[in-house]
Structures are given as structure tokens and as C-alpha cells.
Symmetry: C2
Subunit: 470 residues, 2 copies
């Protein structure tokens, strides 16, 4: 009987034989190996085949099987690559550091993802299990996504299904969108502070990010007007609702003005509406900017990842007109389509009763956590300032002047609190350092301890800071 | 009791009310709506909230709810976009057409994906169901992939786990790799004919594809040498094993020569090893070029999608040295990571007995189909020539001179046979037209009929072709 475990065993035996043999040494015949290892000819052949595929053995037809030249690769072997590679087109802009933060032990004020207790794991498992068993589950998907899911995303903001393109979360959506609209070398305006993932996409595509600072009411229209006057930008990137990192909300009276300024500049607006379902309990988030747009200026990006779970990677780009065709084409080039089982898992979850239960549970927990975080910061770190969040998962803590954000984040990490240095969320020089604190991944009861440790870390840095008296 | 169906019903009623009302008309009070619709206050509030989110209604605090201005978007509204967008950086190079072919009814000689009968659907469903229920299933994944899956891919070709990066299929792998290595404006050498998905990635990244023609034994070394001499290319893209579209295999004696030419040019080789598990029954495919490489020149791309199912989107990039760090960084920027349940589904399937059973079943069917296709073509289309495939899923049929590939493909499509025009697989001008015929998605018993119809289509085109006597 040929089974995988017997093949595995024989592979192990043959590998030992090869390791102990000299290069070019001939292996015993298949018949000898059968007898010695107590297995049939098929098992021996399969095992030999696997080691030949690995390059550990070579077969010379009619002559037998031999130990192949061992490849001991020197570390210096790849030095030529540095010359060949030249300057890197890739700029992670801190996104890689944020992902590393997520994996750090201790208290999690660094990650923007929900903690396991808030994730929709059980419901997702049930939905995924059914999705994987559908008759068409493993066939290819229409490249724009399955119709049910396109309709659902469209309904959320009042768009038609044909204006919706399904993507693997919002990162893939940002990547395809920026690169579809602009070739390398063009400027892109960013409402700042902003999300490092969007900066990483723009920089890695060869775009030049230009900051347009905002306040608690979102981007400042007069600065936006100046930015268009000084650049030939054709794209503005903005998070009007509960922006990452500072939680700002574009004020009602600024919405029309922003649309108008962009329309006069002939520019698109990428609306990264990542927090659509991260409103606090009993608060309805403002509608997306999409709904105020009569000219096809706004390209809205939605994602289910934040409110459900990091590994439910489903999002959408919503746009009208020729720009939609172009983004759809880029998505095909980027990775063809989102796997059907993933899309069916998403549609099953969002169209059932579990969806509103999840949104409510998350909204309740976020409200509670934001309040606890605000109270703890006011108590422990009165020298720092912040705008209390009205929704979403982030707060942008302004550090006292002269205190380095990276130093505090590193010091906090050593004490077991993950926080993100503010520099990743900004473009160019800043008056003061910041930390982004996210309360998506930390339980309310852990917040006071985490903030105490953060205060300890900050005070330790302050003591060492030249010219800074606490 | 508030449930989703009653909310849906009330949403429907309110939508009708809004549709029949004038813009700015006030809706009845919540209490009146409750009585009229026979539901509780929560249901009415939720339904109103949904229509407010859609933009169908507006709420003015203290005043009530009103029908909002209807947005009737004119088709001409988005004409400005064409000016703003300018020339497109996106070039699908026929990849979009190939995806459309997959969805066409009738006989499938166009798609490179397995037909439902050969797909591993049942096994995948079981694996996915278990993967979705793992305790960590919905958490984020390490950005490079889960360790078990990296090890598995590495073992297949004799690479260490740290040299393996998990990607969403090979398209995402090609995209991240090309863009990580070269900024826009650089030439890339392609062994031709080649895969349109790779061309689409290069062109959409602003690279300039240069053809290096091959024959039945793969790329021609003397032309490769000339191409490096005439360009500053630092990248060669090649499919050494069962190339798509022509099924060619890089001959043993050319492997060292190709590596050597590229090494002298300081160039990387992207080895798109898409057909690693598409060898015919009882035939061991040649080892990947990776195994002959002592200098970290070769970047090998593997994919499980072809041998398992289109919607199992899992692949890997395997590389050594600094180039690996750079590709990994680009993957983070592109879409962060591959969802955990997808990776766990893959590892469960490939590490169990189902894997070798699937590879055997596919290898048996492909051998049979390739033989049937070859026989039918020899019988029905003696005026066309082709190299009989030795593995993989494709055959490149050379048309008689003067016969247009697109015309034949269109004509065949009308008769119910999907085939891919050869022009998508080439770069620049060609001496003769070709069709790519794939036998992955057609049952053996359907092949004779499909080829008869194809012959009919070709003869119809030939009769209309000027100067062509059949």
C-alpha cells in the first residue's frame, strides 16, 4: 500500500543517505532500496522523484541515481543584486512597522484591528463554511466581483451595482486606484495627517505626496485651494469620516467647498471611507462625500476588514464614469479577481442578522474604549493634547515640544505597550511629535494600565530630552 | 421584535413614500409611521437611518425627516474625466479578453483553468471549512505568509522558508515583483511567445517589453545575448517549463547558458513556473531553473491556482538576497497580506493525501486531452501547425499565412468555441497568426466537436481572406 507517510519516511532515509554520501556517489539500486526499507517499488520511485525535484539527487537514465552537487550558497553571493537593484521604487512609509506592531506582545494601542473578543470569528466561520460548499465556490469570479456583493456595497451609499468594484480590502483598492489614475512623477494631495498605507502606495508608484493640513473639522479649504494653485495635482486623498489618525470629521459646511475646489481643478477625490461602520453606538456617521457629488469626482473606498476581522479581506471601490473602467482594468492586472469563497463569506455575513449585531457590538465597545482612553490620558498625561474621537478607532496624541515620537514609541514598546509613532502619518516637517493611539485592539479594562505605562515611557524620554523640563 | 426582514419591509415602504413625494417634503412623524406600518420605534428608526445613509432622506434635528434632492446624474456629467485622466497607464494586453473568454458558453478552448470536473472542489470545501474554524483563522497573517505554507513551497523546489513569500496567485506575484525591481521606463526582456498577464503587469508599470523569441527548446540564447547587448535590460521573464502559450520546455543544454548570459548582464530572471504541477501523468517535469542558480539571479513564481481551482488564489515568490526584501515590501504596500483562512486551506490541502491524488488526476486528464486535441487538429486542420505539448495546458496553433487570428477567434466564438487570439501572447509584429488553445477546461469527449467547429470557423475566415486559397 502506497501512502504519504511511507513515502515521507523513505524520503527521510534517502535524504540521510544523500547527506552522508559524496557528490556523485551512486545510490543503491531501486530493488536494494526496496528490500532495505521494506517498501514497494512505487514508494521508492516517488521518494526518489521528490529528492530529484528538490535537486538533492540526479538521475541519469540507464546509469542510476546519484548524489548531486551540494549548493552551499555564500552570503556574499547576492551582493551584485545591490548594484543591479539601484534605488528602490518601493517605499513602505512605515506600513511595515505598523504590521510589526500588531504582532507585539503586551497592550495593543498600536494596531487598528479589532481584538479577538470583538472580531466576528464565529459568524465568519459559519459563513465561510457554507460559502466554500456552494456549487460554484471555487470557479473564477467576474473580475469586478459577484453581483450580490456589488449591489450590497452600492446600497450602503446609494450607488448602482455597476459603479462598484470588489477588492481585497482597502489597501488593494488604494493601490489600483492611485496607479490607474496617475503615472509616476505626478503630485497627489493628501489631507494630513493621513494613513501611511495610502502614502506607501503613492510613493511606491512614484507619485509625490503633498500635504494639505486639516484641523478637527477636516481638511482646510483655503490650504487646499493654495495647494491646487501651486501644483498640477489631479488627485486629492481624504478621509472625511473619523480620519486615521486624528479622528477628524469633515465639517458639513466644508463638504461643498472641498468638492467645488476639486471640481475647478479638474481633480478626482479618493474618499477613503474606512470607518463607515465604526461609528460609536447611537451615533450615525455623516454620509459619504459620494452623496454630495454630482460630477463623478468622488471615488469612494469601503472595507469590511476593520469592522469584521483582519483576515476578511474584502473592500470596494465605488466610482462613476471612465475612471471606473480604468480602475477595473488595473485590478485585473494587479491580481485578476477576489476569490469567490471570500466574497460569498462576506455577502452571507453582511446580508444576515449577524451584520447589524456586529456593527452594534463594535460601536458600543469603541465608544466605551474611546472614553476610557480619553479619561486615562487626561489623568496621566496632561502635558499631551488630543481631540476626543467622535467615532472610528484612532486618537492622535500631540507630544510636548522637543519630545521625539519614535523615542517614546520605542520606550513604550519596551514597557509592553505598542503605539505608532506619529511621523508615519505626516508628510514633511512637523511642529510637534505625535503618537497614534488605536483603541480597536485593547479591552477597556486594560486601558488605564496601558496608559500608565505609556506615561512612564514618555517621562523616561522627557528626562533624557535636552532642554525639556517636565 | 426587531428583525432584518421587518426593517427591509419598512425601508421599502419609506422608499416608495420618498419616491412619490416632492423634494423637501416632510415625512410623517415616527409615531405615525409606527402606527401606519404596524412596527415598533426601533424598526422605524433603523429604516429611516438606512435611507438617510443612502441619501434618499435627510434629517434636520428637531424638525423631522425630509425627502432629499434626487440626483439625476447625466451621462455627460463625467466627460471632464477624459480630460483629467489623460493617456492611460493601464494596459491589460488582452488579459481582460481572456477573462471574458472564460465566461463564454459552449466549448472552452480559451481558458487556462480546469473544468469543474477536474477541480478539487470537494476537498477544498472540507479544507476551507476547517481552516475557517481555527482559533486564529481571522486574525492578521504575517505579511510574508504563514510559516507552514512558506516551508511547503520552499520544500517543493529546495528553497528555505525565509526565501518564500506567499501571494494571492501568480498574477499578484508578478505584479509585486516587476514593480519592486524596476521603476517605470525600463526595458524588460520576455521569452516570446509569452503570458499576457505578465505583459500587462510590465506595461501597466511603465516598463517596455522587448521580445526574445524562442523555439520548441525555449528561449534562443544567441538572441538573448543580442537583446542584452542592445538594451540596458536588468530583467528577463521566462517560463522554462511548459510555457504558456506554446508549451515549450527550456532544453537542458540551454539552462546554464541562459543563466550565464543573464549573470554577465547583471540581470534578474523571473521564472514563472506556473506549470510545476501540470506535468502529464508519469512524466516528471524538469526541475525549476532555481535549482541551477548559485548567484541569487532567479526569482521563481509558483501558483496553486492552476492545479486546484481558480478561486484558490495562493501562490509564492521565491528569491534570495536583497531582492527578496524589496519584493516583500512591495507586497505589503500592494495588499498587506493573504487572508489566513485562504492560506490554511491551501496548506491543509497540499500537505494531505488529497494533494498527490489531485496532481495525479490532473496529470492523467491533461495527457489524455492533449493527445485528443493533437489528433483532432491533425485531422481537421492539416494546414495549421503546432508542437505537440509535453506537459501543461496549452498549445500554440500556427495559422496559415494571411489568416487573421482575431477574425478566426471571433468566428469560432460565434460557433460556440472559445479560443484566444495569438496576438495577445506576442510582442510586436509576427510572421504568422496563431491561436492559443487550452485543454484545461474541456472534457476529452468534447474535443473532436470543438475542433470541427474551430475548423469550420477558420475555413469561413479563409474564404473571405484576400489572396488566400484554401
Amino acid at each position: 500500500m502506497v501512502n504519504d507517510s511511507s513515502i515521507d519516511r523513505v524520503v527521510g532515509e534517502l535524504r540521510r543517505l544523500a547527506d552522508s554520501g559524496a557528490v556523485g556517489e551512486k545510490l543503491p539500486s531501486t530493488r536494494t532500496l526496496q528490500q532495505r526499507l521494506g517498501v514497494g517499488p512505487v514508494t521508492v520511485q516517488r521518494a526518489l522523484g521528490r529528492l530529484v525535484a528538490e535537486g538533492r539527487l540526479v538521475t541519469r537514465p540507464g546509469a542510476g541515481t546519484f548524489v548531486s552537487a551540494r549548493r552551499t550558497v555564500q552570503a556574499s553571493d547576492t551582493d551584485w543584486q545591490q548594484v543591479a537593484l539601484g534605488p528602490s521604487p518601493v517605499q513602505t512609509s512605515g506600513l511595515d512597522v505598523l504590521f510589526q506592531l500588531m504582532g507585539s506582545p503586551g497592550f495593543q494601542l498600536g494596531a487598528g484591528y479589532l481584538d479577538p473578543g470583538l472580531r466576528a470569528d464565529t459568524r465568519l466561520a459559519a459563513a465561510a463554511s457554507r460559502a466554500a460548499r456552494r456549487p460554484d465556490a471555487w470557479a473564477s469570479s467576474p473580475t469586478a466581483g459577484i453581483p450580490e456583493l456589488r449591489s450590497w456595497f452600492g446600497r450602503q451609499i446609494g450607488a448602482e451595482p455597476e459603479n462598484v468594484l470588489i477588492t481585497p480590502g482597502s489597501q488593494g483598492a488604494l493601490s489600483a486606484t492611485f496607479r490607474a489614475i496617475l503615472p509616476a512623477g505626478h503630485p497627489v494631495l493628501f489631507a494630513t495627517p493621513t494613513y501611511p498605507g495610502a502614502l506607501a502606495v503613492a510613493r511606491s508608484a512614484g507619485h509625490i505626496p503633498i500635504p494639505v493640513p486639516g484641523d478637527r473639522d477636516g481638511i482646510r479649504p483655503e490650504l487646499l485651494r493654495d495647494a491646487f494653485a501651486r501644483t498640477s495635482a489631479r488627485l486629492l486623498v481624504i478621509q472625511p469620516t473619523y480620519a486615521n489618525p486624528d479622528g477628524s470629521v469633515l465639517a458639513a459646511q466644508r463638504r461643498g467647498e472641498v468638492l467645488d475646489i476639486c471640481r475647478r481643478a479638474g481633480a478626482f477625490i479618493v474618499e477613503d471611507d474606512f470607518a463607515r461602520w465604526l461609528g460609536f453606538a447611537a451615533v450615525t456617521p455623516p454620509p459619504p462625500l459620494w452623496q454630495d457629488d454630482d460630477h463623478g469626482q468622488v471615488i469612494t473606498i469601503l472595507s469590511l476588514t476593520k469592522v469584521l476581522a483582519p483576515s476578511l479581506r474584502v473592500g470596494a471601490v465605488i466610482a462613476r464614469g471612465p475612471v471606473m473602467s480604468r480602475i477595473a482594468a488595473m485590478r485585473i492586472v494587479d491580481d485578476s479577481f477576489v476569490a469567490r469563497p471570500v466574497q460569498h463569506t462576506a455577502i452571507e455575513l453582511v446580508s444576515g442578522p449577524a451584520w447589524s449585531a456586529q456593527v452594534r457590538a463594535v460601536g458600543g465597545a469603541l465608544r466605551e474604549r474611546a472614553a476610557a482612553l480619553g479619561a486615562a490620558l487626561a489623568r496621566e498625561l496632561p502635558e499631551c493634547s488630543f481631540a476626543p474621537p467622535r467615532g472610528g478607532v484612532n486618537l492622535f496624541l500631540r507630544l510636548p515640544r522637543g519630545i521625539d515620537d519614535l523615542a517614546v514609541a520605542t520606550s513604550a514598546g519596551r514597557l509592553g505597550v505598542a503605539v505608532a509613532p506619529g511621523r508615519f502619518f505626516t508628510i514633511g516637517e512637523q511642529e510637534a511629535g505625535h503618537l497614534r493611539l488605536s483603541y480597536a485592539g485593547i479591552r477597556t479594562e486594560d486601558i488605564p494600565t496601558a496608559v500608565s505605562l505609556l506615561a512612564e515611557a514618555l517621562h523616561a524620554v522627557a528626562e533624557r530630552a535636552p532642554g525639556f523640563a517636565n
